[in-house]
Symmetry: C2
Subunit: 155 residues, 2 copies
């Protein structure tokens, strides 16, 4: 097979998430959906992408349980695409991508928006990874461990 190497059976959770949202358009579709876009035409005109690709992506996102098709909402007989909880759970990934760009992009001047706390209108802080006891962790403070609860039995 010459296929695009599926990570579906991979044990690495990063590979598993890439399987669902690891392509060029999916994250941008989800980004727009978090902004409130719901209709096929809205996505198509906002993102400027080919309609066939959009159709394929939307179907894939629905299959992965990230979007759901809702029958209507404003009377018109067309359907809409709305995020599931699983889809809304992608928000931190988008924030992480955004903050990485903000911090390391070569031409930061081209970034035209900032993510702010709605109540105060002030920029948000960087994502924080903490230990159970609240200590702030960097990559060097972490390790991977095998998951407990794996049954060593053969049957």
């Amino acid at each position: 097979m010459v296929k695009r190497t599926s990570f579906e059976g991979d044990s690495c959770p990063i590979a598993r998430s890439l399987e669902a949202i690891g392509d060029w358009w999916s994250l941008l579709i989800i980004r727009e959906a978090l902004f409130g876009l719901r209709r096929f035409g809205e996505f198509q005109s906002k993102l400027g992408m080919a309609k066939n690709i959009l159709a394929v992506r939307l179907r894939a996102l629905v299959d992965h349980g990230i979007l759901t098709t809702a029958p209507a909402s404003d009377g018109s007989a067309y359907q809409e695409y709305v995020l599931t909880p699983k889809g809304r759970g992608i928000f931190p990934i988008l924030v992480a991508l955004r903050q990485w760009s903000e911090e390391f992009d070569d031409r930061p001047a081209e970034i035209t928006t900032i993510l702010v706390d709605r109540a105060k209108g002030r920029p948000v802080k960087k994502l924080e990874l903490r230990a159970e006891d609240g200590r702030l962790l960097s990559q060097a403070d972490t390790t991977l461990k095998p998951r407990p609860g794996r049954r060593p039995r053969s049957a």
Copy 2:
């Protein structure tokens, strides 16, 4: 052009980061690099990917300033690929992807590792997004604002 739509000039920071690391393999290469892999052959055997693709990806990551080629390290005359600060800054993105899989994957039993705090060996907490004053923020508590400091002048 029918090319793979570059997001290089896009003003959205998410699109800009996808431009650099938005493909199937790059994030997995970086994941292994964070684990300490450095050599071409190490990446190739660990990830099981075609060597030509790996060569293209490594070059692209070097071009984007995510990896650097270091002349040597253990005496052998071959070169190594090491993460730059920009590359190490991708860590939160990987954590976000991992936590999303852990929370929403359909077959969580297939995930075999957990990310733990090295000092205590206990699982880390979920990534937290906070306001300047420390309030924990969810997606609904945030908004995008136009970036200040944009010069409205024509010259």
